[in-house]
Symmetry: C2
Subunit: 551 residues, 2 copies
Amino acid sequence: MLSSLEIAQAATLRPITDIAADAGIEPDELEQYGRFKGKVDLSLIDRLSSRPDAKLINVTAITPTPAGEGKTTTSVSLTQGLGALGHKPVLALREASLGPVFGVKGGAAGGGYAQVVPMEDLNLHFTGDLHAITAANNLLSAMIDAHLLHGNKLGIDPITISWRRCMDMNDRSLRDIVTGLGGKVNGYPRQTGFDITAGSEIMALVAVARDLADLRKRLGAITVGQTYEGEPVTAEQLQAAGSMTVLLKEAIKPNLVQTLEGQPAFIHCGPFANIAHGNNSLVADRVALKLGDYVITESGFASDMGMEKFFDITCRVGDLRPSAVVLVATVKALKHHGGNIDGGMAEIEAGAANMARHIGIINGFGLQAVVGVNKFPTDTPEELELVRRLAVEHGAYAAEVNTAFEHGGEGAIALSEAVVAAADEPNGFTFAYPADAPIEEKIRSIVQKVYGGDDVQLLPAAKEKAAAFEKAGLGELPICMAKTHLSLSHDPTLKNAPTGFTVTVRDLRPYTGAGWIVALCGDMQTMPGLGAKPAAFAIDVDEHGNTVGLF
Amino acid sequence: MLSSLEIAQAATLRPITDIAADAGIEPDELEQYGRFKGKVDLSLIDRLSSRPDAKLINVTAITPTPAGEGKTTTSVSLTQGLGALGHKPVLALREASLGPVFGVKGGAAGGGYAQVVPMEDLNLHFTGDLHAITAANNLLSAMIDAHLLHGNKLGIDPITISWRRCMDMNDRSLRDIVTGLGGKVNGYPRQTGFDITAGSEIMALVAVARDLADLRKRLGAITVGQTYEGEPVTAEQLQAAGSMTVLLKEAIKPNLVQTLEGQPAFIHCGPFANIAHGNNSLVADRVALKLGDYVITESGFASDMGMEKFFDITCRVGDLRPSAVVLVATVKALKHHGGNIDGGMAEIEAGAANMARHIGIINGFGLQAVVGVNKFPTDTPEELELVRRLAVEHGAYAAEVNTAFEHGGEGAIALSEAVVAAADEPNGFTFAYPADAPIEEKIRSIVQKVYGGDDVQLLPAAKEKAAAFEKAGLGELPICMAKTHLSLSHDPTLKNAPTGFTVTVRDLRPYTGAGWIVALCGDMQTMPGLGAKPAAFAIDVDEHGNTVGLF
């Protein structure tokens, strides 16, 4: 079989103008970026406001192995499968970050015959959204330090500045730095650092803004630090929010591409569901809901990670109502949770406890779970059937093996049919916590109802901040948990279905622009690093100028 | 009169596909970025290889005031004027950097009725070239630090690492930083810094690469530092050059836009003619030379800055032969050099010495100088006529007042006719120095023949490096002077026509990827800062979502 890059490079793509026209997008609503990419104007949502929304299907996964379980491949193939069945599906995925592309994880375009294309563009600069977010973030940083240098009229206490620079790169050397060395001409020295762009508040904020005016307002509401009197200092006070908005004017528009089988796919915002909220943009979902009959929207990592945040943050903020959830499972991941990734049927049986927990989490949100067993070449038919059977036994509405990597949409027909049926069932969608509960109570609800833990412990710094935030009127914001994706708990070494644990929250960050409070569990890094053999070593151009080594 | 932004926003643009078709670009050679921007494939140069090249006109200026003299406005209007005369002009300009856009200088799209459009796009992210350059630069940085952490197999001596990170922002706090703090997990601490992207070697390298293969080779040849044994360490040895090339695959293609009067304009690479070479890309010039009958190419700052580097670097590397030079002068700048920017006729007479020197520099390269006197609203007819007359008296081939800011191409008809005549004259184009002269000798030639100084003094560090570079086989590379643009000398306070000075070179940097040696004069900063009232304060969106405050 060809590599995913070779399949993508060999594909015959339809002009994006045709994809858009078939989806019901007016020519004036599409701004082309090359022949096969476009941005869609948000005015479309108003134009089609009277049209009923599509059914919204979330795609999530069981607790993944470090290599991932093929969630994007499943999302793409489900879209292709629904298309093959005669429906009008629209896909909504998250954008790739250059960090993982040149690091270890690879791209974010699916794989095999279930990809979104043009794959190379998607995994590189695409339409520049992440670069625009980086620029807006770092303009604010430069304006903060310039403000300190030019007299500090706002009286910002430099030691309270929580706003960090960002870069779309895996660069651990930038996590903890001192800037402004070299004397007066370079400003005041300050200890600070860079986060990866995907984990920045600006990325989060673009992902939940409803339109340009809302974006402008949210940018102004960003808290960068405090005055010597303890009052918050915002981007608005620094006169930075207007320029930041101008830098993000295009980035707020969702990007349209296509699946290998020609269905429309929006790719917009939101990677990194561990340190960030990890979902594609609200505007992409809203546009997609107006265009299709099924919207397939993917959340990052497992149901305790991206899916929880999709429901409790995006759906709450955006007033979205999901219809069903697809839970991706693999033979390999079940073996991994069962104690031996190279094991057999016994390990699958044992590791099914993880899958059961995720089905329970989905049901806990009042939704049906359809398990998609993503087939890998090394899986035996018996192993695949065992996973499928265990899923149903553990409460899945249905479970189907998905061979889309090899067969495209045809390989996802059974899964697609099951999803259609599940979405037709009545559901009692609900949140994990009410917005008006105290901050600690909201975190406790997530830990107990979603992670299956005993309790939460806020360290003194976090406890203090929770009280301060509530006093400052931020008590009703939802929570964005920053937690490892490798375990249902906060401890990446606890595989399968851990119980009896208490989650420690070491710090809280007020994302007053994005509109939520980040709870940092354990020692989550907000800037990854490159390994000893990064993917970058193998990426190159060949003698014909074609890209090689990208996956 | 409307503001430049209002004029640009009110303009009716032609689809870029029409501009391209009229210019003779095949549909397959144009990649659209929205309706009004496109990238042109370099294969066009081969397709049209048998067509004779257009006449190449360089646009430069006298020593500018900090506000600039309207060189881009003149370049655009000359293109518009030649178009009005029935010629087939093609414009080649440099890309804007976000640093100055949000800092003080404003945009880079011309002004009034002599602009390239879409102006907002040009001054913001445009087609993402600077972001791609930033990413490639910083990927290499991350790979250097990761290499040190993961065993340092190449034996790089960390203290010799000259490769710095970059950012397209005015952020002085990043000039001098310490990275890698916080313990083992964040790598080894190191003192380093950021340059502005426009001044980076990658920007320089993209600007002179002939094609993708040449780009790949140049990226591999970048020197990042030395081993403990004193051997150079390259990007190729770090296995970074392939990935960097993939990041720059689109950035190497020149960007096509249009003037307000519909002539084709390439905008590609190369701002910052003080710290960098400050010219648009060689590929943009090469493509333009195949498409038109006149190519108007603008160099940064004055003739001692961008123009010298255009001739001695770009024309030498790219085998280009210019036909004539337009020298932009203003009443205000002559008064400034004459001792009082608010002065009168006497100051103009005095300040004409600066203009005379620039005419002499142009003649020294064997070319005719046509002076374009760029009219400002405050200039009187007598003042303008005086500048015009003095230009001719001091050796200009011709001199014409240019009212294009108010009148578009019609205001540049006389200037255009003079340029056509000057370009028809035979010329004896020559370089300021032969490539095979010793490094110090080449710098001395520039100082004496171009700047009009007495001599050059290499400080010990620079002298040592000159010897080392010659020993390492780098002796035949051209020189890129990093010098203030505010004086013909290296001292920004010496206005008008200074003599009797010796230029001090404090350091040399080997740009083995770009293919030249940078000579740092005085204390040139490679990262600007934001002032107390940056342009960013005024930039915003209005209630209709339109950008305001961009200029």
